[in-house]
């Protein structure tokens, strides 16, 4: 298995980076894969940004719109300002810690991949030196964040703010929900990276997966901080 993978990788590298003068095929392939994956991630993040840009602009527009009161026939504002649950701060803290832990995982797996790329058979490295503990911790923190968001939703519902109560609550559920769905994608990617580790994929493969997942995760953290500030200051 190991030898087959290595041969295929060398061929791929030659095909993909024909003509570029680099020392070893393994390191050459690793950097090429990393560059491509990061480029793809930047493009994907652009798409996610567009989604949240649309929601932010819709939020601002909808907030300024009056509604007709059928009883009095006058225009009133139906936007009820939302008191954000304090529990959100704990969730934010959890996510901020997770962005540190995944960065540690990313650096560790990158170091390992760089070392492996210098060695001829990359699969010989033991599975415990690949940042797995940090990945596992990040996964736990990510799931805790989502669980915390769920508690926030329950708290909000208990205080009478449902999805359709007021446009402010609609947007609250929408923004937190969409962020949660995207973070769930990050958690799935973490699990896939963990599975790659268990399935004994090469250190480079793991490192590429962990790298893009980590950058995606940083983006998710940044996005969450943005959403929180937006919900607080554009109340």
């Amino acid at each position: 298995m190991a030898s087959i993978t290595t041969t295929a990788s060398v061929d791929t590298a030659q095909v993909l980076l024909a003509g570029k003068q680099r020392p070893s095929p393994e390191s050459l392939e690793y950097t090429a894969r990393l560059r491509r994956a990061r480029l793809g991630l930047i493009v994907a993040i652009t798409a996610v940004v567009m989604i949240f840009v649309s929601y932010s602009s819709a939020y601002v527009v909808r907030k300024g719109l009056p509604s007709l009161d059928p009883r009095t026939g006058t225009l009133v504002h139906d936007w009820l300002p939302l008191q954000l649950p304090n529990f959100l701060l704990i969730n934010t803290l959890v996510l901020l810690i997770s962005t540190v832990t995944i960065e540690l995982a990313r650096r560790q797996s990158a170091r390992e991949a760089a070392a492996a790329a210098g060695v001829s058979v990359p699969l010989s490295s033991p599975a415990h030196a690949d940042g797995m503990p940090w990945l596992a911790l990040t996964t736990i923190l990510g799931v805790s964040f989502l669980a915390g968001q769920w508690l926030v939703w329950l708290e909000l519902a208990a205080s009478g703010f449902y999805v359709s109560t007021s446009p402010s609550s609609s947007f609250f559920y929408l923004l937190t929900g969409m962020h949660g769905i995207h973070l769930l994608g990050g958690i799935l990617a973490l699990l896939a990276a963990g599975a790659a580790s268990l399935l004994r994929k090469s250190a480079e493969s793991r490192a590429v997966m962990v790298d893009v997942t980590a950058w995606y995760w940083h983006f998710m953290t940044f996005l969450w901080v943005y959403i929180l500030c937006f919900l607080e200051f554009a109340r």
């Binding site: 994956a37 798409a47 567009m50 909808r62 359709s164 446009p167 799935l188």
Partner: protein, 581 residues
């Protein structure tokens, strides 16, 4: 989004599959995926065409009862036009040029073995196919397909009680659009990464064929536009099913309050048209790129103003995001805002004129070979001019007040967005069929198809401009109470008869397509004597596109009739040739 997973698998050049399922159904090969997209679009275009046929029949024989379908009621007519528009815009005009031909030829033309992320590529096709099945399913649920038009304006599209088809049918419509957006976003991701990261040695950005530039810019537009439509679709689903009021104001149906209040239908229009206007360019940019290519190949001349063509496409793409408001002049928008949108819209006339000028410059004094792809490319230029010229009319708020929602608009966008893009698809089919299927298409049938389609589509859509100027509103199944429209009935009849002939002509194309796959003349590797990379490889291309070797590019894509060269064309891979400049 498990980006990491796709990314990690992506760079391994996958081995040629052996099982039938991996080879033809869940294939990772961009060429197979391109053909899958092509046949999806082919299926969709015949469904969409059939719906338009029913509309044309109903317009001149309103009382006619059709076999199997029965009477066409007014609401059925609305269903027909909704599904016709949706299927044609999304599953034909967006799917075939980009997903179909782009998928097949972008990697080959830039010298790559495959797309950057093959798994993602497969996924984007199957999500798009699923979206199509969901869309078609809307015909077969209780209440039938929706009737809110392809633009899906709320409150009509947001309230299940608003009409038949606005229940489950409309939910399926929104879900289908959302799925389509996901597929289009994944596809855009792949196109952009592939173009930026997978070009062969020597294939600089400014040596890419204009087709690749067009697919690249289209992918950027798709990336920025489809996310917005997806967001809007999710809001609409919430309004429909979760009782929110993003788009729905206080409305009553039969005196009953719906429970919604305060939402803004205009908010939907802004979000929709922020996607909807770039979507026009998503449909037509690939055709522009292709026709630039074909005019050069078949005039045996370099493209006139390559850089100007690239910058014109970039500025069309950029300006395309600034003009969505021109669809909303009638919404009560401030005249100052309307003025800004109007000026921006007319500014698009400048790059469009540059392109047209360069096309004419390219064929000027060329040794033109009137092959079937060339005919369709010339037809495209003709349609682009005649359909585009009415754009500056509609871009002026004062004229738009008269022309809005009339047949003038229908004629305008069918010529420019519909038929011109379709001509691009036809040109691409005739041009690349030899490379894709290894045989030439029948030239005689292709000529019949061309002349019937060109004359037929002009005969259908030109009179619509007159109908519109006379004040005939679109989207009405019958306007029998309006006396001033009686005089226009013969024109409507003429258009329907023209539609019969044009649709009959499309079966020539369909027959030619399948007949040539089996019985066409065997194609050489470079039957058109063109210069780009797809003509350097075998016909059809091997699994890794170039059969184990990697092309190295030395020349630009349009080296035709170079003085002093041994042949009248220099392949992009020809090293050290005598160059005139």
């Amino acid at each position: 989004m498990a980006t990491g997973e796709f990314a990690a698998r992506a760079v391994h050049a996958h081995a040629a599959p052996t099982s039938w399922i991996r080879k033809y159904v869940f294939s990772l090969d961009h060429k197979v995926i391109g053909i899958q997209y092509f046949f999806l679009a082919l299926t969709a275009v015949f469904v969409g065409m059939f719906l338009s046929l029913l509309m044309r029949i109903h317009l001149i024989w309103p009382a006619a009862s059709l076999p199997l379908l029965g009477d066409i009621k007014p609401e059925t007519y609305l269903t027909l036009l909704t599904m016709h528009g949706t299927i044609m815009v999304f599953f034909v005009l967006t799917t075939a040029p980009q997903g179909g031909f782009g998928n097949y030829f972008l990697p080959i033309q830039i010298g790559a073995p495959d797309m950057a992320f093959p798994v993602l590529n497969m996924l984007s096709f199957w999500v798009t196919a699923l979206a199509f099945f969901v869309m078609i399913a809307a015909f077969f649920v209780v209440g039938g397909a929706p009737l809110h038009g392809w633009t899906g304006y709320p409150p009509l599209s947001a309230l299940p009680a608003a009409g038949p088809g606005e229940g489950l049918g409309a939910d399926l419509w929104v879900i289908s659009i959302a799925l389509f957006c996901l597929g289009a976003l994944m596809s855009a991701l792949n196109f952009i990464t592939t173009t930026l990261d997978m070009r062969a040695k020597g294939m600089t950005l400014m040596r890419m064929p204009l087709t690749c530039w067009a697919w690249f810019i289209t992918a950027i537009l798709g990336l920025l536009a489809f996310g917005v439509l997806l967001s809007a679709g999710i809001l609409l689903l919430l309004d429909r099913n979760a009782g929110t009021s993003f788009f729905v104001p206080l409305v009553t149906i039969n005196g009953q309050l719906t429970g919604h209040k305060g939402g803004s239908p205009l908010l939907w229009q802004h979000l929709f048209w922020f996607f909807g206007h770039p979507e026009v360019y998503i449909a037509i940019l690939p055709a522009m790129g292709l026709c630039s290519q074909l005019l050069s190949v078949f005039s045996r001349k370099p493209i006139f103003g390559y850089k100007a063509m690239v910058y014109a496409m970039l500025s069309i793409g950029f300006l395309g995001f600034m003009v969505w408001g021109h669809h909303m002049f009638m919404s009560g928008m401030s005249p100052y805002t309307a003025f800004a949108f109007s000026v921006m819209t007319m500014a698009i006339g400048v790059p469009s004129a540059i392109k047209t000028f360069n096309w004419l410059g390219t064929i000027w004094r060329g040794r033109i070979r009137f092959t079937s792809p060339m005919l369709f490319a010339l037809g495209f230029v003709s349609l682009f001019i005649s359909g585009g010229i009415s754009g500056p009319f509609l871009a002026q708020p004062v004229l738009d007040i008269q022309l809005h929602d009339t047949y003038f608009v229908v004629g305008h966008f069918h010529l420019i967005m519909g038929v011109a893009s379709i001509f691009g698809i036809f040109a691409a089919t005739y041009y690349w069929f030899p490379k894709m299927f290894g045989r030439m298409m029948n030239e005689g049938m292709a000529r019949w198809h061309f002349f019937i389609t060109l004359i037929g589509t002009y005969a259908i859509f030109m009179p619509m401009h007159y109908l519109g100027m006379a004040g005939h509103l679109r989207r009405y199944s019958q306007l029998t109470e309006l006396n001033y429209l009686h005089g226009l009935v013969p024109l409507q009849q003429f258009m329907t008869y023209a539609a019969f002939v044009t649709i009959a002509g499309q079966f020539i194309f369909l027959f030619n397509l399948f007949w040539s796959m089996k019985f066409g003349k065997k194609a050489a590797d470079n039957p058109w004597e063109a210069t780009t990379l797809e003509w350097t490889t075998a016909t059809p291309p091997p699994h890794d596109n170039f059969g184990g070797h990697i092309p190295v590019v030395y020349n630009g894509p349009y080296e035709y009739s170079v003085p002093g060269a041994p042949r009248d064309f220099i392949m992009q891979t020809d090293p050290a040739t005598v160059k005139a400049h």
